[in-house]
Point group: C2
Chain length 243, copies 2
């Protein structure tokens, strides 16, 4: 049995301009690993309906789930719901349940429920709302597409709402060994180890620290015992005194 797969689509002018460093995909990547959904791709596209819709149609046809982040607020540049409706060929109108959520929230906080805010109640008819415990405006799931907010605290709250609904797989476990040698020294032994444990993914991540080369070896898989065995072999190959 293979794990379900996922992609994340970030609506991201702010990332593409270099102004903001991506953080939501990083957060969700860790959560998906934890529940056994294999994240296979992250795409960051411009805040343009065509770019969002095209990416969405490719990703939702390729992976079990697609999560989007950003572009569901009340301003003129919030076009994700429009792009999702366009990509899926479904109408997008103010939905009564979403409108009621917002009305209650604004009434309780003494804020005006104006036309801009009403835009956030536009939800495709067949979509399931995703709760927003922070600012009420909901995300939504339609088919295998999960539309989440871009503000990190709201994004994280929505991830907490939507993930328990999804069927996970076997969590991918990992162990890391730091070796204080460059990749060029350990490459041959490592290739042998990878051949010995074909069911595991053995990644080699070089770094430079205080001018010295080192490598983090990350062994990933779903069988804890197999990972333990590979780690033991790895420690034998590169004993601590030689590390």
């Amino acid at each position: 049995m293979t794990n379900p797969t996922a992609a994340i689509l970030i609506i991201g002018d702010e990332i593409l301009s270099g102004r903001t460093r991506e953080g939501n995909a990083h957060f969700l990547a860790g959560e998906l690993t934890r529940v056994g959904i294999d994240l296979k791709e992250i795409r960051i596209v411009a805040d343009e309906v065509a770019a969002i819709a095209n990416a969405l149609n490719t990703l939702r046809g390729t992976y079990t789930h697609v999560f989007t982040s950003g572009g569901i607020g009340p301003t003129h540049d919030d076009i994700t719901a429009d792009a999702v409706a366009h990509a899926l060929g479904v109408p997008l109108d103010v939905r009564e349940d979403a409108r009621a959520l917002l009305a209650a929230h604004y009434a309780a906080s003494g804020l005006e429920f104006n036309a801009a805010r009403l835009r956030m109640a536009r939800i495709p008819a067949d979509a399931v709302l995703i709760e927003n415990p922070i600012s009420a405006a909901p995300g939504f799931s339609i088919g295998n597409v999960h539309v989440l907010a871009g503000v990190p605290s709201i994004f994280q709250a929505m991830v907490a709402s939507v993930l328990p609904r999804l069927t996970g797989g076997r969590p991918v476990l990992s162990q890391t060994l730091r070796i204080d040698q460059g990749e060029g020294v350990i490459a041959e032994g490592l290739a042998g180890l990878a051949a010995e444990f074909p069911d595991l993914s053995i990644g080699s991540y070089p770094f430079i620290q205080n001018g010295a080369y080192g490598t983090n070896i990350v062994i990933r898989g779903t069988e804890a015992r197999q990972i333990d065995a590979a780690m033991t072999r790895l420690s034998t190959l590169f004993p601590k005194e030689a590390r």
Copy 2:
């Protein structure tokens, strides 16, 4: 005249697992903005030849430039050069100029030039080398594809080598105004401003700080005078005392 465009392709099991937070695309995004190359898309794919080659073929056909990051070291999981050669349909062999660079580096540092390290001299015949002042193993440009290392310090050094070769456009300038109000309050005025300045991109980025809503308005364009005019209008729309 429109600016050249670009995409960044990160070879990124480490990002997809949630272990590492992406940083190279963030760095390059800022550099591209500075030289007037419009970054339109970032993709992060798994360390798999098919995933890399497919993404590369789409991106190099769509944008003026594609930059890749990661997977050009000496270990078994370094497959980017293979994937690029596969995608472009060109052979990949040890090239004499790259071999000489590595040989000189290892001779000078007293390290063994072993078979694993020799893998890093495999460069497509028509590619132009990209200098690596840190650990010698070069990146390369072939057609509109620029293949860079994944270690951040080396990635940044390679960006410094390759960017001056590329024809830039008009740098995208930006100014930001922080407004201490939620998006719902300012959305209407902002939509009017966006309509008034159709050549500018006016982005609205909400945040929550100490429990209060605020919004950063980022105005982007290539004409400094136009951006100044829009910023003045914005300040008039949302005077400081109301911010």
